[in-house]
Amino acid sequence: MSVSVISVTTSLSTREPNRVLRKFLRNKSAVIGAILVLTFALLALLAPWISPFDPIKANFMEVRKAPSALHWLGTDELGRDILSRLFWGARTSLMAGCVSVIIAIVIGVPLGLIAGYWQGWLDGIISRVVEALLSCPFLVLAIALGAFLGPSLGNAMIAIGLSAMPIFARLTRAQVMSIRNEEYIEGARAIGLPDRWILLKYVLPNVLSPILVQATLAVASAIITEASLSFLGLGQQPPDASWGAMLNTARSFLEQSPWMSIFPGLAIFMTVQGFNLLGDGLRDALDPRSE
């Protein structure tokens, strides 16, 4: 993960969505990011209906044809239409990004909550494990997990999710620790409210903002990691379309058929950039200190 957010923002009342939205919309980059993400999400969703050709079916008559009126972005080494494969590849990338991050959040956030709230020896163990995972080079962890589970998209998502989990755990823990001593939390404990209730009703909503920001940035990172894994031969397997795998095969034809490299690379770039801009914009919008 190349961008991590270790920010400790003060608690934000959830009764100000309008203010957040207005701040967001004023930020041009954020809006561009949102548009990019929505566009690719739409393309991914509608892929089965808007793809002009079958993305998997090989066509030996049309091998590596340059972009033309028939194939807007050209064809690949097996004669498949690149535009169609880009649409279907969007499904792969977005799914990989979102599912990985969901896995990371589902495991990481509860761990962080537990560690930050109860502290003590639980915190000790969880923090050690998280630190150990963070000390291991992220991509290596993903590669080893991917190799262990076997090359497939599902396993790649699990591998990426597990590798990204520590960041969410640490972020959540930091957030929880910063607010657990606030008065309303202490008051709730004094009254005798059960911890679980406090966690769910008071703590969790207030750690959501930085998690949301981190999630968006993590999706961006996960998409690149999935592409990297596919590039190394783990991850989405042919003949299903994956931008990373498309780049990997395109390498052998860099000069003869440059369109095979350019378009998937651009697709990855635009999608990831969209998520990064979106995450940035969310962070600025949600931060009460910026104006």
């Binding site: 030996f60 090359p151 031969g233 052998s252």
Partner: protein, 505 residues
């Protein structure tokens, strides 16, 4: 205007001149390899790429020429006894090792025994027919064999016949610093980066070698290797991808040299390894396997994936081998394939799990196959696996069909025995046919070329009926060379031989 050059201004110029002249005096040949060789000890080496280094650094008892005929190496001449169980070799005199030791029959004995007894030696099976080695004169050595072995001489042209300096080998760490007797001696090695050799001044045939230094640069990525060649950072590289041949031919600074290799790629079918995957129509009925083979258009694979540079295959012996059996490669016949499947009582679509290595070329071929055979009603379920896992699954029988190749050996036995004989070490599909075993065994024992050819032809014909291994294509050996290099001759075994090579400035 007075012009008085200062001494300090002269110094850089002087330095430049000296370095330039020094650089000019030493010529270096830079060779690109597709992978970093493993250990540089012929006893434990197992990569194809290590053989490039051995070729430049060491000498073998015998060698092969361009046409894969055996020619003298460290042995001047040799004779077999009539029963084939004794091999007498007369050795070349006046040869010294890189550390000054003298080469003689005792050195040969030392090396062969080392290959036979060293714990990690991978040459044992190659020299399995050797019972003992005897020194009968300072430059004469006698091999006593347990059985006649037609393939032995060929084995001695490779690592099993490579002679290391006995004293240096006995005391030192061979893999770190091998001491041989070849035209170039070992200087240094940086893992994954380079292997540097320099000219051995006491080499008996010095005049044929025109470089002072040879540097091997392992660069796994074919496009980066080519980029290096085009940028002038490499003089020769092996392993030019089929898709890059047009680029090399179109570059005025480069030349292309290619030859049909000895290696092949095929589909190994699990017909008898374990019980998990052998209860299928594919494993039990030869007609299903024949249908599979008929559903494949080998020419199309060649065109689509390899731009026509490869050669369709129906046997283990490539056209470069004298043992290539003259049996035409079957053309694709979907109707016949469908008929065979129906005869075998198979309900289409028939699904087959197909194990494939996860490199781009194999993936491409696999996808082309998938598209082709689907028309005959066969569904290939591609399982891309990384190398270590693939080998594991093949060995344990956890596969139905696997795409696997062989880099090829000059002697036909090396291309087929281990794969098809019942107890063959590389027979992962566990194919077993007593007739084939017998023919293969006989071919090992006789040195008569005509006899061997006939025997192997029978094996090939039987293979095309049983189809335990569906051959796809033979791989060429394609080299990219700078225009400045002259005298390059491609050998079918793919190794680069430095004799006669020269660099024009």
């Amino acid at each position: 205007m007075k012009f008085a050059p200062r001494l300090s201004a002269c110094i850089p110029a002087l330095l430049l001149l000296t370095t330039a002249s020094l650089a000019h005096a030493e010529s270096t040949l830079r060779i690109g390899l597709g992978s970093d060789p493993d250990m540089l000890d012929p006893a434990t080496a197992r990569t194809y790429y290590g053989r490039f280094v051995f070729s430049a650094m060491c000498e073998r008892l015998v060698d092969v020429d361009q046409h894969l005929q055996i020619v003298p190496g460290l042995a001047k001449d040799w004779t077999f006894s009539d029963d084939g169980k004794t091999l007498t070799m007369n050795l070349r005199e006046g040869v010294t090792f890189h550390d000054g030791e003298k080469f003689d029959a005792a050195a040969v004995k030392f090396n062969i025994e080392r290959y036979l007894t060293l714990p990690g030696s991978l040459r044992k099976s190659e020299l399995s027919s050797v019972d003992s080695v005897e020194v009968t004169a300072p430059y004469t050595v006698v091999f006593h064999l347990k059985t006649a072995d037609a393939a032995l001489l060929m084995q001695l042209t490779d690592r099993a016949g490579t002679i290391l300096a006995p004293e240096a080998t006995a005391k030192g760490n061979v893999a770190a610093h091998p001491v041989c007797s070849g035209p170039y001696e070992f200087v240094s090695r940086v893992q994954q980066d380079r292997i540097v050799l320099k000219r051995f001044d006491n080499y008996w045939n010095k005049g044929a070698y025109h470089f002072d230094k040879v540097v091997f640069l392992p660069i796994p990525d074919a496009s980066v290797r080519l980029a290096n060649l085009r940028a002038g950072d490499l003089d020769i590289t092996e392993g030019i991808a089929a898709s890059d041949t047009a680029t090399v031919k179109g570059d005025s600074n480069l030349q292309l040299a290619s030859t049909t290799g000895l290696g092949y790629m095929g589909l190994t079918i699990n017909v008898g390894n374990g019980t998990a995957n052998t209860n299928t129509p594919l494993a039990k009925d030869a007609r299903v396997r024949q249908a599979l083979s008929l559903a494949i258009d080998r020419d199309a694979i060649n065109q689509v994936v390899f731009q026509g540079q490869y050669t369709p295959a129906n046997q283990a012996f490539s056209p470069a081998s004298p043992y290539h059996a003259d049996i035409p490669v079957p053309k694709r016949d979907i109707e016949k394939a469908k008929k065979l499947l129906a005869e075998a009582g198979v309900k289409t679509p028939l699904t087959i799990d197909f194990l494939v290595a996860n490199n781009p070329t194999s993936q491409q071929v696999a996808q082309v196959l998938q598209a082709m055979v689907s028309e005959a009603g066969i569904n290939l379920n591609l399982q891309m696996t990384e190398y270590a896992t693939l080998l594991d699954r093949q060995q344990s029988g956890a596969f139905q069909m696997s795409m696997s190749g062989w880099s090829g050996r000059p002697d036909p036995d090396g291309n087929i025995f281990s794969f098809l004989s019942t107890k063959g070490g590389l027979n992962d599909g566990k194919y077993s046919n007593p007739k084939v075993d017998q023919w293969l065994q006989e071919a090992r024992l006789t040195s008569d070329v005509t006899q061997r050819k006939a025997l192997y032809k029978q094996v090939v014909e039987q293979e095309n009926i049983d189809d335990p291994l569906v051959y796809l294509y033979f791989e060429p050996r394609i080299f990219g060379i700078s225009k400045k290099v002259t005298g390059f001759v491609p050998y079918a075994d793919g190794l680069i031989r430095l004799q006669g090579l020269a660099l024009n400035k």
